[in-house]
Amino acid sequence: MNPFVFHCPTKVSFGEHMAATASDVVRDYGGTKTLIVTDEVLVKTGILQPILSGFAKDDYVLFTEVPPDSDIDVVNRAATVAREAGCNCILAVGGGSVIDTAKVVNICLSLGGKLMEYQGLNNLDTRLGPLIAIPTTAGTGSEVSMVAMVKDHAEGKKLLFGSRFLAPDCAILDPLLIVSLPPKLTAATGLDALTHNIESYTAVISNSIFTDALCIESLRLIFEYLPRATTHGDDLQARAATLVASAMAGVAFTNSGVGIVHALAHATGAKFGTHHGLTNSIFLPHGMQFNLDVVSSRYALLARNLGFSNSSNDEEAARALISAIEQLSTRVGLPNRLRDLGVPELKDTQLDELAFLASTDPAIMFNPKESSVDDIIAIYERAY
């Protein structure tokens, strides 16, 4: 067996009504005053109520200004609120943007100094204050991952932070919190988690049996339960399965990286503001076709494990997996072309620019096959 390093610094608590234990978890980690980071939409839905009811009124402050596409200004405002209130713990309740924001706020609150000094990978050398994450979508895996991304809209830049110290101390997975997630968002975030699994399983350094096991079981859960979670939002068994599957995929990708599909989705999202999970779902079959000649045996293993093929021919089995993913995407009602997302047809110079963005995205270095600008453009055009 190849040598490997596997990190899983986040404690995971799962169960219905588990979110109501958040105040106890905070106290377990020594939190006496908590900054609760969330967004306005969640405040309006009333989801926060059972969580807040566990806290004494003076033991927390709410920060509800996180937008879907969070920004360094939001981080700084939240950090100021936390400092002024004397917070020593952060609780994030929301989707990927909220949790990523909370991670970066935690850097500001714990380490002080200039935030830009901490941008990068493995650039933190000390533990941060306690951070507890409660996801309200099932896809990003941010509740267990060691990375965070926020934008600097003023400079038009994307800031990446990655460190084992960035991972939340505890993720509380409560399926009751995601029952009201709309079908389209359920499907898109589910395909995001599926993409994490496929890319982690075949990433250039994916040699850990730990990540393999997580990917296989997470994929099984997604294929079995995502259609149910999408069509019957109140199906708690399906919601629970997709929530757990998302966290499992998060642990996998934070250990092995992702690949060309994410690089293309990041570039397209940056240019046209497309939804990350949705964009991943469109690029995934095309990215897999591109990688097919170097990882067909890995795709084939997945296909056989998941029951999509019993062929001994790797390429045939791999194609069965790609086909199963396309069918799942259609079944949960997702579009399969970029043009369906409102992305305009690009001129050659715009294609070059997009390909450059994708080719310099950190995700691409984990892809199992090297890609040229022409390769990236070809994948983009096929997905269009």
Partner: protein, 140 residues
């Protein structure tokens, strides 16, 4: 045993390597176009190499401490740097396993990795030529 005897040997080898890269347009043009200032901070033995391409015209190579604020900083053990230049380090692996630290806009630095590939053929000869020579000179 470390790949480098001391700071002098490390910096001499790295400065010559980067000067060779500078003289090869297949690599230097793209590095100049990046307009980046990248600093490599090594430990065991310690050493600092700074590559300054900020104006897109001059390719400046510095060994040792300089009063220049880099846009990207890469930190690693000197042995990891040596293994990188002989093509034995997979950068994604090194980052995920914590062997390499990258500070700043990592994507800009990573974009330059493929550009440096020809230097993998150059480095062994430079290393061989200086290995031992600098440490002998230093010890007198």
């Amino acid at each position: 045993m470390s790949a480098f005897a001391n700071t002098d040997e490390l910096q001499t080898i790295m400065v010559e390597l980067w000067n060779t890269i500078k003289s090869d347009p297949s690599m230097s043009t793209k590095l100049l176009n990046s307009k980046l200032i990248v600093q490599f901070r090594y430990r065991e033995p310690d050493g600092i190499i700074t590559i300054d391409c900020r104006d897109g015209k001059q390719f400046l190579v510095y060994g040792g401490d300089v009063k220049i604020k880099p846009e990207v900083e890469m930190a690693m053990r000197s042995d990891v740097a040596h293994e990188f230049w002989i093509g034995k380090v997979n950068v994604p692996v090194a980052i995920l396993t914590g062997k390499m630290m990258a500070k700043g806009p990592v994507n800009k630095a990573l974009a330059l990795l493929p550009v440096l590939k020809p230097a993998f053929d150059i480095y062994p000869e430079i290393y061989k030529r200086h290995r031992g020579a600098v440490s002998t000179k230093v010890s007198g």
